[in-house]
């Protein structure tokens, strides 16, 4: 059992690490198609990462230790999340954590960006950090509410129970689940830090914010973490809100699962390609509205709807 879950973890992490740049590649290719151009090769993100890994690493920030730590932590956090997820199979770390842990891990991923900005210490990095902090504070409750709604439905805080049972545990039309699905879909680009909610890095405003001071391998770590995030959060979203079809026998269930993840990536792409970036206050207002909706859904869930 122990060995199996370790193997599962390794497999999950490896799978995510191997596929994440491909997801990014799909995103870039489809964006290019929407913009009537040819676009980079699908494998472009792999090239980018490999190149970044070999580049000089300039340690220019205020606190290099924090900077270095933040990079590793960012990637490690999302990989841990990956271990808690069923990527087409069962969750590798069954019973090892509950949804509270998941919420904390997601928060930790945001904190890494924060640390990155603080470690760098330049004005734009700090601006990016402060924006990241604001977004985090708005998003965290939203995510927590959706997980708690699931927990309420299934009566358990175990990750796999919540995910398995999903938020559609109730009989009849799962209103609360559908509302949560809608709110989370609207907030999803923010979780993966894509347009129109990439206020914390906003290339044309504050020049990639917290990452401005990073170069070479450390930048690669952050970029990698971001790509993995896209994939892992898509998988999480799929597991939580679009569970239909995942329970089928091996090749079908697996295919359906990854098909849905791909659909999520495409959704993110379409939204990113057709929206202008929100200002930080507009983004926060947007999240606040969604939070109200989500809380409403939670109330519904409590009544078993």
């Amino acid at each position: 059992m122990e060995l199996l879950s370790i193997l599962g973890c390794v497999a999950n992490a490896g799978l995510v690490l191997a596929l994440a740049p491909l997801g990014e590649g799909v995103l870039r290719k489809v964006t290019a198609r929407l913009q009537s151009r040819q676009g980079p090769p699908l494998l472009q993100p792999y090239f980018d990462l490999l190149k970044l890994l070999g580049k000089e690493d300039i340690e220019s920030g205020e606190t290099p230790h924090v900077q270095r730590g933040a990079g590793y932590l960012a990637l490690a956090t999302v990989l841990t999340v990956a271990c808690l997820l069923p990527l087409g199979f069962r969750t590798p770390l069954t019973g090892a954590g509950d949804v509270i842990l998941l919420v904390y891990l997601i928060t930790l991923a945001g904190i890494c960006t924060l640390l990155a900005g603080w470690g760098a210490g330049s004005t734009y990095a700090l601006l990016g950090s402060s924006r990241e902090m604001m977004t985090m504070m708005a998003l965290e409750p939203l995510f927590a509410v959706s997980l708690v709604a699931g927990a309420v439905q299934t009566g358990s805080c175990q990750v796999d129970r919540v995910l398995d049972g999903s938020v559609y545990g109730a009989g009849g039309i799962p209103w609360s689940g559908l509302i949560l699905l809608a709110t989370m879909a609207l907030a999803f680009p923010a979780f993966v830090q894509r347009l129109p909610f990439d206020v914390a890095e906003a290339e044309t405003e504050i020049m990639e914010g917290a990452l401005i001071e990073y170069s070479g391998p450390k930048l690669a770590l952050f970029k990698y973490a971001q790509m993995v995030k896209l994939l892992v959060y898509s998988a999480l979203f799929v597991a939580l809100f679009v569970p239909w079809g995942s329970g089928w026998a091996f090749p079908f269930g697996w295919l359906v699962f990854w098909g849905k993840v791909l659909a999520m990536v495409l959704l993110v792409t379409a939204v990113a390609a057709s929206h202008a970036r929100y200002r930080i206050d507009q983004a926060l207002r947007h999240f606040a509205r969604l939070l109200v909706l989500a809380v409403g859904a939670l109330v519904l869930a409590c009544y078993g709807l």
Binding site: A32, R37, P41, F47, G54, M207, E213, S215, L219
Partner: protein, 178 residues
């Protein structure tokens, strides 16, 4: 090992940082144009980045100016190795019309080691693509210096010393060389 892979990958993934140190904007817009649908530099992995720390290539446009010299220098120093500098346009390549003006230092090569020159005022987007492709070794360089030297003077010089003979037949001795 990583260094080697990086060298190899640099050809397929060039992140550029464009620094206009004081040009007229024409080259900037052409560089932007290279990213747009008709030319789409992204298919070669070229991406515009906002911070010199992320960049592999610095595209210099405009001459080296007195007022931006320090900033340009610092931007170059902020780039992680291996780094390249491309000079785009006549201003960056040779200082432009104002190469000797009071507030201009001259071509950017006075401040930074330039690896590749893409002349033009402004260069066509194709020219920029060609330049980048040439720098990546995808296409061959086409220009070579032209030197024309007249080996012999084309017009005979009738110098009395070279005239031989007398009477009706006068031979100019060096005529065959003309």
């Amino acid at each position: 090992m990583l260094k080697k892979i990086c060298q190899k990958m640099l050809r397929r993934s060039l992140w550029v940082y464009h620094a206009n140190s004081g040009g007229c904007n024409g080259c900037d817009i052409e560089v932007l144009n290279v990213l747009t649908p008709y030319y789409d530099a992204e298919r070669f992995g070229i991406k515009l980045v906002g911070s010199p720390r992320h960049a592999d290539v610095m595209l210099c446009q405009g001459p080296a100016m007195r007022s931006t010299a320090c900033a340009l220098r610092r931007a170059y120093e902020a780039m992680p190795a291996p780094k390249l500098v491309f000079a785009i346009g006549s201003c960056a390549c040779g200082g432009g019309l104002w190469h000797d003006s009071y507030s201009v230092l001259g071509p950017v090569e006075k401040l930074l080691p330039v690896d590749f020159y893409i002349p033009g005022c402004p260069p066509r987007p194709e020219a920029i693509l060609y330049g980048v492709a040439a720098a990546a070794g995808l296409v061959d360089k086409k220009v070579a210096p032209v030197r024309f030297k007249q080996a012999e003077f084309p017009i005979p010089r009738y110098h009395p010393e070279h005239l031989r003979g007398r009477g009706e037949l006068v031979v100019y001795e060096k005529a065959e060389r003309v």
